[in-house]
């Protein structure tokens, strides 16, 4: 039993290491175009993960998360372009801007729940969109802010291509961000967010300050979202109102739900899938949006917990097909006993 458990945990470690290795070595075997697609996947993984914190863990369905993405982008755009501030500082300020926006809008937005929360977040983002659109002098309006210089990792200049250079920068930033997010999710705070999602009242009854927890989650999600937006501005060398549009917020939602809301790997898979569909499928057919729509619908219907749960689901279906005694669900911890007793058996025993 113990050996199986250790094996399971080592499996995961092994895959993680393999993945890390592949990501580090990517510029060596990927030509420029796929490498930049991979960079974009990294950035949107961060964006999707930040939304996941709100939507998947805390259960707050936000359709306005692009507000933070755009805020980060415009912060970077304004700082880098007009003030020539170096990337690390600009990105930091972008995060602060996102956090500030969340702190200001939080008390209003958190007065609502469910669908009302959805449309209030959407409304605020639309208002921000409108402001950005109209305030041409500062934001460039519809034209946005072009010509943002791409930051480079100094010790890699000359050794790798520019694309690879920025790729590594993005990898470092996104990687660190995701690591901190993993910490947050595994902390008691993360567990309490799930409690909020499941039943806020019960959690309050246990003595948790639920409003403060939601506010904190909203603010943290805003900070990470802004970080992703700032990176994206550097990536494209450009920031425009499209980065605050609700279409982007909707796409973020698709990424999270498609991959698996409330899981760690889900949003990353979702981001990768959506972007790969856009870039790769569009080479074959113009109908990639339709395909995305169909895939999304199928996922919502058949795999509502997301693609990341596909192995579990397959296992479930096979068990049902073979008409075995209903298996207890896979335990949430990493430990998986050799044979899971059915719930009925367990209760009979006790």
């Amino acid at each position: 039993m113990v050996a199986t458990a250790l094996l399971a945990r080592n499996w995961r470690r092994a895959i993680s290491f393999l993945l890390a290795g592949l990501l580090l070595a990517a510029p060596a075997f990927l030509p420029s175009y796929p490498l930049s697609v991979l960079t974009e996947i990294l950035i949107f993984s961060l964006f999707a993960m930040s939304l996941n914190l709100l939507l998947g863990y805390a259960g707050l369905p936000s359709l306005g998360h692009s507000a933070f993405f755009g805020t980060g982008g415009y912060a970077v755009g304004l700082l880098a372009k007009y003030l020539g501030i170096p990337a690390p500082v600009a990105l930091l300020i972008a995060v602060v801007a996102g956090v500030a926006l969340a702190l200001v809008t939080g008390p209003f937005v958190l007065r609502t729940h469910g669908a009302y929360f959805l449309i209030l977040t959407l409304s605020l983002t639309q208002v921000l969109f409108g402001i950005v659109w109209l305030w041409r002098r500062v934001t460039g309006g519809d034209d946005g802010l072009p010509g943002i210089p791409t930051p480079k990792l100094p010790f890699l200049v000359g050794r790798v291509s520019d694309t690879a250079n920025f790729y590594y920068l993005a990898l470092v930033v996104v990687g660190s961000a995701l690591l901190t997010m993993a910490w947050i999710i595994r902390s008691p705070f993360g567990l309490s967010l799930i409690g909020i999602r499941e039943n806020e009242r019960y959690l309050a009854g246990l003595g948790y300050p639920t409003w403060t927890l939601k506010y904190a989650a909203y603010t943290i999600a805003g900070g990470y979202g802004a970080l992703a937006g700032g990176l994206f501005a550097y990536f494209k060398g450009f920031v425009g109102p499209g980065q605050i549009s609700w279409l982007l917020a909707g796409e973020g939602m698709v990424m999270v739900i498609l991959g698996g809301a409330g899981t760690f790997w889900g949003p990353i898979i979702g981001a990768a899938l959506v972007l790969l569909l856009r870039y790769e499928v569009s080479a074959f057919t113009q109908r990639w949006v339709m395909i995305l729509g169909v895939v999304f619908i199928l996922t919502v219907l058949l795999l509502p917990q997301g693609i990341v749960r596909l192995p579990d689901r397959i296992r479930q279906l096979r068990a049902q097909l073979r008409r075995e005694a209903p298996l207890a669900h896979r335990p949430a911890s990493a430990v998986s006993p050799h044979r899971e007793p059915s719930v009925e058996q367990v209760i009979e025993r006790s």
């Binding site: 705070f189 039943n199 019960y202 009854g205």
Partner: protein, 258 residues
Amino acid sequence: MTAVPALQLEHVSKIIGGLTILEDMSLTVQPGERRAIIGPNGAGKTTLLNVIAGFLPATRGRVIVFGRDVTRLPAHRRVDVGLLKTNQQPAVFQELTTRQNVLIALLRGRHRLLGLTGQVNSDRAVQREAERVLEEWGLLDVSDIEVRHLPHGYQRRVELAARFALRPRLLLLDEPAAGLAVDEIPAFIERLAQLPRDMTVVLVEHSMRVVFSFADRITVLHHGAVLADGTPDEIQRNEDVQAAYLAGAMRGRNAGTA
């Protein structure tokens, strides 16, 4: 010299949308007492518990727990004075495992910065404590199964295990026997009797077997006001109670609301 009462309600009223649900209620529960609150459907029993627990603000009056005026405190702050409440439907997190349900209770307030400074899996002390609680409540075998797969009786156990882990001084039980089969009641009464005597328990229940075997004192509610208050014997002999219960039971059946 009298000890500080565990619970005092002073002229508590609750009015929702023009409807008076609780009317000028006053009652006192002594520490260690077992108080049952009964009454026909619609008498306001669940509302009363929700007001005491802080899920509903009182329109008028004061709620005092162990000498502290908690009237203005939100529900999550009342846990600080040792007040915990269960639900008619067991208050458990369905998608979490039994262990996680217990952990979430134990982790409350344990790590700074809203819990951001710790990690659930590496908090050895909490994990050990959780294991102990699970064992004490006979939940080890189902510890890693999501609660939604468990039958009702087990969910109730998880709910109680989680709350006991927080060492309540005043425990509010909202119809805990609801959903139990008739032959499960004796075992349930047994378990209730085993509750520590230093814990004050206020119980809302419909099952008279549970009430009369468990309670030290009984408060009868009718139309949101206290109709009678006394020992089980006194209440049984009380004619007003008999009249109200019978009449109220008829009315309750027609209205169909609790």
